[in-house]
Amino acid sequence: MASTYEPIATGNATGSSPTFTFSSIPSTYTDLVVVTQNRIANTGLGFIMYFNGSNTNFSYTRILGNGTTASSYRDAIQDITTTDSSASSGLFTTHIINIMNYANTTTYKTSLWRMNNATNTTTPTFVGAGVGLWRSTAAITSVTFYAANGAAIDAGSTFTLYGIKAA
């Protein structure tokens, strides 16, 4: 049987830009998976994922546990949630993001992700999951991560894109 889980590209943030983008993504896979460790230089916790250069027609729902309580939230963006500048240096959030059936032109696009960080202080720390919706039938050809409020994605943040191809 054919091997089907392939790394497509990987990159590192330099700490001077609010965005990181995978572009010209081939349409030859069924799903995409982004594995990333990241952190942003503001205190808003917002770390937005959008597609094809457009940040409109998105929504998401998440569940979070912070060591004390569990909560759920939704908004009309696709915030994957990350470590902000209030955390000790060197601490990052880990995400595994599944972008399902990204190249089809029939259905809207649904993404699923797990995220977690751990700090050596009480906040901000969390473990959780999210589901995002892009109300577009366009094939996804680029994936952009954007730090809310235009803050930088911290140096040390890493991003790897994988493609999974179904038989």
Binding site: F20, A70, R74, R114
Partner: protein, 196 residues
């Protein structure tokens, strides 16, 4: 993982960072895929699953016909309809988080895995389901899942685990919508094998 070889499809990155091209892995194989046609289908079964992998993963986009926004995906192994399944899950609906579970069921229940007829057009639930050590005959089987549907103002996301209290190797997996409706057109289930 293979050494650096080439980009796939001429991909590039932007974003003011460094960029590397990397090679391919050989430990994650596609076994079979089902895509539901225009008539819908009540059950999808992966049969004759080879025992040559360490773990299985099912990746799915699913929509059903129940009169709701989100429905629950049911999973059953080896056509076993006895009360040998349990589940526990943690879920969020956008305003609150909750947990639930139970035992002695005839299915594993994977919450939020299927969008319903009341969800917006073209919106499907997403699922990533891992079935660990599926071929071992020395222990009961454990499933973990991540599922969700966002309906632009409703829906939810959930994490869960499921138990099947049999030591049989899993050779078939059946998936259906709780409540009995059909899967809708374009629903897709893909089964993968992960080597150990």
């Amino acid at each position: 993982m293979s050494p650096i070889i080439s980009a796939k499809g001429g991909l590039s990155s932007a974003g003011y960072g460094q960029f590397f091209l990397i090679g391919s892995t050989t430990s994650f194989d596609s076994i079979a895929t089902y895509t539901i046609g225009s008539g819908g289908q009540s059950t999808v079964t992966f049969g004759s699953i080879p025992s040559t992998y360490k773990h299985l993963q099912i990746r799915a986009l699913a929509r059903g016909g129940n009169s709701d926004v989100q429905s629950t995906l049911r999973i059953q192994f080896n056509s076993d309809t006895t009360s040998s399944y349990s589940y526990h899950r943690l879920q969020g609906d956008g305003s609150s988080a909750s947990a639930s579970g139970g035992a002695s069921f005839t299915y594993n229940y994977l919450y939020f895995g299927v969008s319903g007829a009341n969800a917006g057009s073209n919106i499907f639930g997403a699922n990533v389901i891992d079935i660990l050590d599926y071929a071992l005959t020395t222990k009961n089987k454990t499933v973990r899942f991540l599922g969700g549907i966002d309906n632009n103002g409703s829906g939810g996301v959930g994490l869960g685990s499921g138990g099947w209290y049999k030591t049989d190797a899993i050779t078939s997996i059946s998936l259906s919508v709780d409540g009995g409706s059909n899967f809708a057109q374009y629903t897709q289930f893909a089964l993968y094998g992960i080597k150990g």
